[in-house]
Symmetry: C2
Subunit: 199 residues, 2 copies
């Protein structure tokens, strides 16, 4: 995984771009910073990706796959129960987000700023229409919009990561305490969600 040896220049740029875009957002990022981080020249960045905009799109594509790729097989599985899906999705999301803590905030805020470009990358059909999850929720709780439960699940897993900078900066938690906090939620959130769904 050493950036300087076996990784192609194109990939080095992509990795650095991913890091800096995620930290500073599209408009807060300067292509010069990406080039410096990648250890290459600014001209080379445009040689490979033509423009800042196109580089950003490439990065965002990877992020969307990271955010939904592993979840789709879970929510579209015909053979697992609703409760099993909750357990599996929770475990998977905490795993993804622990490795990419500011992924959610990045994606959400960039979508808010220029919705059209990004939302087209999201596989709505698989997540909602084809999703077995939606059907299973509706069977269990026919009276309420299934989104309430999906939003509850997503919020309880994702929100702590979005709020991490506050917790850290107000000296409420350090990295270690946060990690333990998240570890606790990994088992707690599925319990709470099931409680809500079964109520």
């Amino acid at each position: 995984m050493d950036k300087d040896t076996d990784v192609s220049t194109e990939e080095k740029i992509l990795i650095s771009a991913s890091k800096i875009f995620t930290e500073k957002g599209f408009s807060g990022t300067r292509t010069r910073d990406i080039a410096e981080e990648a250890g290459i020249n600014l001209a080379l960045l445009n040689y490979y990706f033509r423009s800042k905009e196109k580089l950003f799109e490439q990065v965002m594509k990877v992020k969307i796959v990271l955010l939904f790729g592993k979840i789709i097989p879970i929510v579209t599985n015909e053979k697992t129960t609703l409760e099993e899906k909750i357990d599996l999705a929770s475990e998977k999301y905490f795993e993804i987000l622990s490795k990419n803590p500011n992924l959610p905030l990045f994606v959400l805020s960039e979508i808010q700023k220029k919705p059209s470009n990004i939302t087209s990358l999201i596989p709505v059909d698989k997540l909602l229409k084809t999703s077995v999850l939606m059907r299973q929720i509706q069977e269990k709780k026919p009276g309420l919009h299934p989104f309430h439960f999906i939003i509850n699940f997503l919020s309880m897993t994702v929100f702590p990561f979005a709020g991490k900078p506050i917790l850290k900066n107000l000296s409420i938690m350090n990295d270690e305490e946060f990690q333990q906090f998240v570890e606790e939620r990994k088992t707690l959130v599925p319990i709470w969600i099931k409680m809500i769904v079964n109520s």
Copy 2:
């Protein structure tokens, strides 16, 4: 409330800045846009606020007060029970966020980008140390970190607003449907939170 009549120039700039910073973030905002939105000249903006940075700080101060001002008296009230606090805070937050739907995403993502400037504005002591809420949660659920419940509450109320641009852009919900969705949550979230706290 007509911007062009009884409102001072300084306030007109502040209102416009608030709008555009919230939509585009600090680095995505151009002072020219703020001036145009306010119907004044660019030079006047610097005359009143000295710099883009200082104007941003002013805006952020207002946002932090908006986000915490009404909540502090609720969570520090010695006379209300935990369940009453949940009801009151929920109602207040849904009211604030309905009027300012992209307030949370704005504040969270700007904090992530330059933490130190903003977090100093947040009244931690009142929200946590002095807070009667924290004590009441601890009495009810001594085994778990009280933050779990605070995060659960905040996430379930705040997250739908952060996700609104996705829902809207994927044509999952229009404005009207979203408003109804949120209206439902206003009564549902307190029920779920109490369920979790009493479990």
